[in-house]
Amino acid sequence: MILLDRVTKTYNRKLGPSLDRVSLHVEPKEFVIVVGQSGAGKTTLLRLLTREERPTSGKIIIGGIDYDKLKDKDIPLLRRKIGVVFQDFKLLPNKNVFENVAFALEIVGVSNREIRHTVPKVLEIVNLKGKEKRMPRELSGGERQRVAIARAIVRQPRILIADEPTGNLDPKHAWDVIKVLEKINRYGTTVLLTTHNQDIVNKLKRRVVTIQGGKVVSDRANATYDGK
């Protein structure tokens, strides 16, 4: 499903690579947690997958799409196949909850009828039923994060990428968000989650890939994380 082969990303030659020969193979329906301290290169890794950045060297293949052969005009089609939960939410401040989620469907040409049918179901999955009309500024951090998740999954992508979705949340809300991700994974979506929250990693008991200074230093199943 996701294949990275010795991928290196150097933003600035003087500062050295932010990702250094990272190789990773994720099977369909897997739930993978990428851990590492701030600045380790987690976001950079995800931005390479969504083609916000290009690797300096190395090969990336996702869902059969070889990024070396991907043309600019096909980037939108790639992004439609991947659901992304951004570290900073990226919700539209002047649209309400329903509209923010519907937005992901509108831009790909889904009919209004289908939108009215699909969005409430997804809001139910993330436990936001009844809050359709709220504006983002009227929501708590955890609720906003769940809107972002709803938007990421509403098109039923085969891959879901979530960049520190629990970053700013207290433990209870963080756990709510993680439970939603597990639910989505049970429905058959491949999930790639980054975090530096030890509790969550240790409770989840999933495959853990640890990055340090841009390098993969360990990759173990049913693993724990000690915050280093």
Binding site: E53, R54, F86, L92, I107, V110
Partner: protein
Amino acid sequence: MHKRFTTLGRILHTGVLNFMRNISLAIAAMAVMVVTLTIILFSIITNATFENTIAQITNKINISVFLNDTTTDTQAKQLVADLKKQPSVHRVVYLNKEQALQSFIKDNKENPATVTAASQTGNPIPATIQVFPSNLNEIQHLKEYLTTPEREKLQTPRSPSYNGKRKEAIDNITHATNVLRQIGALMVAVFAVICALIIFNTIQMAIFNRRDEITIMRLLGAKTSYIRGPFVVESAIYGLLSAVLSVLIINSAFLASSNALQASSLGLLDINYASKYFGDHFWALLTLQIAIGIIIGTVSSVIATRRYLKFKTK
């Protein structure tokens, strides 16, 4: 197919919404566009009017060839045939002595004394060939053609004689028209560029105001055309409304001028003809104006959005 319509509908809807949201920016852009389109429309009408004036004047110009009474019918017919073969000749009218007299009487109706004098002395009017040149510049050439010795022998001493406004006068009109035409073209070009730049800026500002939304659309996989569409629609609306306004302005200018001055001509410009031309071609002109407005609008907005819609990945 259904999906296409949904998308097209959304692009149009967003475009109209943005137009209304940016109404203050839009008014500034449209003001310049109205001026531009009004100048374009005015130039088109003036040009047509001048062309008509010149054509009318040119039509009245001819060279009269007065034939000696000794010239035979055969010789006259031969000369007419020769003249018709000349590429510089548009039309030839032959009047024998009797027809020439009738024409003379008709032309001098208001002058009975002259007419009486002419008819009492027997017919003093020579048989006449009227030669209409294909264009003004051929007159000299035609004169040379008619004044070769063997052709001069057939004519009275006053022949050939030139009728209508003098060539210099007509040349002056033509020259003035050409100058006006060039000034018009220059103004159209200058204003079209200013107009395009203003719309360009307006759309860039509109993009700037919505940059977060555009970034998010990009990340969620919106196609370039979907993001660009509403901006293009917005500037096409400027073009459409400005075109209609420019036509209304010219229309009320004609109404005002026909009411106020009973003037039929304003210097060189034949207002009556201009007004009639505008009326006769109203729908064609309106369509043309709308087309020009929409083209200026869409081209500038496509260029304005290009930089923002590039994928930043290197």
